[in-house]
């Protein structure tokens, strides 16, 4: 990169960013990793993290089990009824959320600092001693079935589901986290209890604490409440099967009666988060469908042709090859026109790469927005958990500006060619029936 252009990148005070000087990390004897960072400018404390259990660990016939288990944790323990748990949390304006994803079950809590011990102790109890009372599990099932019925009527959800079935056929990534009405209707308290006994445990668990709590106190409290968390029978997480690349373009459209607008999802399976091509792909994706008013895709689909209210691209890299997608909401009569324009932009991106100016602008954007992403306690907490999940090192955010500045146009082109073959895209849509 030319020296003059490099000088134009934002200069951050890297020592104001989370790093080894301000993050305390330790591991409890039972395997739980704790990260803590103090922020005494705030009146609150937050914690968040994950357990190594997710919908990957459920069978296709019990799709929705991981989510239903996570949602039922707060519905009663060996010592507290659901009402007591929620009264204890809500009466002080705190919040606690636990929900399952593909690879992990995420949790987050927030409260005024003086309530931190109370919230952490409730969290530890619901995690270790849930009783899954049948009447409460019935309610959770009812809520999940309603959420499924609503999801199945949403054009966006149906287009994404259709896309996942095209790109990940027979793979856990094509399975819906909420499950289906058929599978969820059969899930009982006993299934949840067995799933919890088999997969919930301290192995692989990460918890981050940020706010006006001394780091040493935060760690001591986590140890006090979760140090005794054991599960000698905790199963290893299921392995993610490989995926087969698409052999050509595949298309499907889901007609939904009574809908007005169509949702469109076009893309492929992208890189894993730990793939060396991830950062170039992320910068490339920003140019393709995020930068400014949604990058090149937004300019063409929305600004120039007025075809959609939203049109952008997204790269959902995680432990596995999450999707790299372009998403748009369009009038069904304009669907083909939008597909043609999007395919043309993907093709241009892959064949001609990005310009020097585009790269510099996007590097600048990635670096400049770092302090914004880390402004809130929640933002920092999520960032600390992210470091541990992907083993990035405590100095990752301090190294990040340099890493971004070092990405070249050739690396972006390489990542684009490797993942985004314009002749082998999945094109999924959902909306009113097409003529």
């Amino acid at each position: 990169m030319a020296k003059d252009l490099e000088l134009a990148l934002p200069k951050l005070d890297i020592h104001s960013l989370p790093g080894p000087e301000t993050i305390v990390r330790c591991q409890l004897p039972n395997g739980i990793v704790i990260l803590a960072r103090e922020n005494f400018a705030s009146p609150s404390a937050v914690f968040s993290g994950f357990l190594s259990v997710g919908s990957l660990d459920e069978s296709t016939t019990r799709a929705g089990l991981a989510e239903m288990t996570a949602s039922s944790l707060m519905r009663g323990t060996s010592q507290l009824a659901s009402e007591e748990i929620h009264e204890s949390i809500e009466s002080v304006g705190a919040r606690l959320i636990i929900s399952a994803g593909k690879h992990s079950t995420a949790f987050s809590g927030k409260c005024l600092t003086e309530e931190f011990d109370r919230l952490l102790s409730i969290f530890a109890q619901v995690l270790q001693e849930p009783s899954f009372p049948e009447d409460q599990v019935d309610l959770v099932r009812n809520e999940q079935l309603t959420a499924i019925a609503i999801r199945d009527q949403e054009t966006g959800s149906r287009a994404h589901q259709c896309f996942n079935e095209l790109v990940y056929p027979g793979h856990p990534y094509s399975q819906l986290n909420l499950g289906s009405s058929e599978t969820v209707a059969k899930l009982k308290s006993g299934h949840l209890r067995k799933f919890h006994e088999k997969y919930y445990g301290p192995k692989g668990m990460v918890i981050s604490v940020v706010g006006s709590v001394e780091a040493s106190e935060a760690i001591a409290n986590v140890e006090r409440f979760l140090g005794g968390f054991v599960n000698e029978k905790q199963a290893d997480q299921s392995k993610l099967p490989d995926i087969s690349p698409l052999k050509g373009e595949v298309r499907e459209y889901v007609p939904l009666e009574g809908k007005i607008q169509s949702d469109l999802v076009i893309g492929v399976a992208g890189p894993r988060r730990q793939d060396p091509d991830y950062l170039p792909a992320a910068l490339g994706n920003n140019i393709l469908g995020r930068f400014g008013m949604m990058g090149r895709i937004g300019q063409q689909v929305r600004e120039r042709n007025g075809l959609a209210y939203y049109a952008y691209s997204t790269l959902n890299s995680g432990p596995g090859p999450g999707p790299w997608q372009v998403i748009a909401g369009v009038n069904p009569g304009k669907l083909e026109e939008a597909i043609t324009i999007i395919k043309k932009e993907i093709s241009r991106f892959v064949k001609r790469g990005v310009s020097r100016e585009e790269l510099l602008e996007n590097q600048s954007s990635f670096i400049g927005r770092l302090p914004l992403q880390l402004e809130s306690n929640e933002g920092v907490c999520g960032a600390l958990t992210f470091l541990e999940r992907y083993q990035l090192g405590l100095d990752y955010y301090q190294r990040f500006p340099r890493m971004v500045a070092d990405v070249s146009r050739e690396q972006i082109r390489h990542a684009a060619v490797r993942f985004l073959d314009p002749d082998r895209l999945a094109i999924a849509g959902a909306g009113p029936a097409l003529d």
Binding site: P10, S44, G93, T146, A149, Q153, G292, G306
Partner: protein, 431 residues
């Protein structure tokens, strides 16, 4: 940091622009908000949706910042920006690195005065906005809310949704858009609120330089028609795709600066759980609220929530619920009415009042943590009251007594003051 411990600077430029500044040095960031007192309240049949459309046009560039230049300049420095149009106001904001404050001031000043509304850009945006409305129409909640609003307001311009009616979106002209912009996008109809890492004096100098024009000092003249009292319950039904029944019951409610507003918000907390007044940052769960216990714990509904919005004119208090697949909306409405009878016949318990205030205190503290939210509140409170409303919010809430909450509930939550709306799905009408 707490809101009250931070110093606020308030001033007004000679052209009428109100300026609210709050230096906060906790992070090298600044959040710049420009608020205009214009929204769907200022529209009438023929031009419904025009305020929201003008907001879209403000991203289309000016001679100084042609299309594409503005958004690239913002994105390049890693800033976050957005805009919102609502019933009473339209707001634009940028949260960005503190050393880039000039960029936000320059662009906001430029688009306040210099947007040219090119015909080609207007036509391109017409289809985008129609697409936005069609996206809303896919959602049963939108269809129900739109009908409820129309049934609740026969006279007042809160009658229509912010997005506007399809007929008007197809027919509004470039000149109508430009006239609306010229009438309302004037300094005397705007509030500039800035929070973050800056020094007051040099920032005020920059603001005067950017916004100091004497153009448009005339305040817009409005012709808002008061909604007459409602004399009897109204009911509406919407049918559409899906398998899920939604029930929404709305009551005419006091405006944000009315003395009944906070007592009614306490009643809402007790009935449906604490509401987060902030634009950013989530709320808390409501599983210990009266309605959740009666409706969701019994399996009749799968969710319930209540909303009371702070507005310039009297608007609506809304209770929404998703009815369980095997239950009926009549059953849900009967249980709701039982609970409302309870809240109308005896005061809420002292511990319920204490909890509502404690929840509000926590949510208020969470909302004061972010620079963006601090700047939001300085402008937002000016839209329907003034900044004192925000600063005194917790103290005033703590003064609410159980008898006062009872009297407020008895005044507003009565059948003749409400509209009952139900969405009945074609898939499986469980009504």
């Amino acid at each position: 940091m707490s809101a009250s411990s931070l110093s606020l600077v308030q001033t007004r430029l000679r052209n009428g622009l109100k300026v609210r500044l709050k230096p906060i040095h906790s992070a090298p960031l600044v959040s710049v908000w420009l608020w205009y007192k214009v929204g769907s309240r200022d529209e009438y049949p023929g031009i419904t949706g025009i305020s929201h459309w003008v907001e879209h046009m403000q991203f289309k560039g000016t001679p100084k910042f042609p299309p594409g230049v503005l958004d690239r300049a913002i994105a390049r420095v890693g800033a976050y920006w957005n805009a919102f149009t609502w019933l009473d106001w339209t707001a634009y904001f940028e949260t960005l690195p503190a050393d880039q404050i000039d960029l936000a001031l320059q662009l906001e000043a430029d688009r306040m005065f210099n947007n040219s509304f090119k015909a080609k850009e207007v036509e391109s945006e017409r289809t985008v906005i129609i697409s936005e409305r069609q996206g809303h129409e896919n959602d049963p909640s939108f269809r129900l809310a739109e009908e409820l609003q129309a049934a609740a307001f026969r006279i007042h311009s809160y009658h229509h949704e912010v997005i506007g009616d399809m007929h008007d979106l197809q027919s509004i002209s470039r000149d109508q858009l430009h006239n609306h912009y010229r009438k309302y996008y004037v300094p005397s109809n705007a509030v500039l609120s800035i929070a973050g890492d800056f020094s007051v004096r040099p920032t005020l100098d920059r603001i005067r330089k950017a916004f100091g024009s004497n153009l448009g000092t005339k305040r817009p003249v409005r012709n808002i028609r008061d909604e007459p009292a409602q004399f009897g319950e109204r009911r509406i039904t919407v049918q559409g795709p899906g398998e899920t029944t939604f029930l929404e019951v709305v009551y005419h409610a006091p405006q944000g600066d009315h003395e009944d507003f906070l007592p009614l918000s306490v009643v809402n907390s007790v009935l449906a759980g604490a509401s987060n007044l902030n634009l950013f940052g989530g709320g808390i769960s409501n599983q210990t609220s009266r309605l959740y216990r009666k409706l969701v714990e019994s399996g009749i509904a799968t969710s319930v929530d209540g909303t009371l919005a702070a507005t310039i004119d009297p608007y609506l208090y809304s209770i929404r619920m998703t009815v369980s697949p095997s239950r009926s909306y009549e059953e849900a409405l009967a249980v709701l009415d039982e609970e409302l009878d309870e809240v109308l016949s005896r005061p809420v318990r002292k511990e319920e009042l204490t909890k509502a205030i404690q929840q509000a205190r926590a949510l208020f503290a969470y909302g004061s943590e972010s620079i963006t939210n601090q700047a939001f509140w300085m402008g937002y409170s000016e839209m329907f009251a003034d900044y004192d409303w925000f600063q005194n919010y917790l103290d005033k809430l703590a003064e609410v007594e159980v008898e006062q909450a009872l009297q407020t509930a008895q005044k507003y939550l009565v059948p003749h003051n409400r509209i009952v709306g139900v969405y009945i799905p074609n898939g499986r009408p469980n009504g």
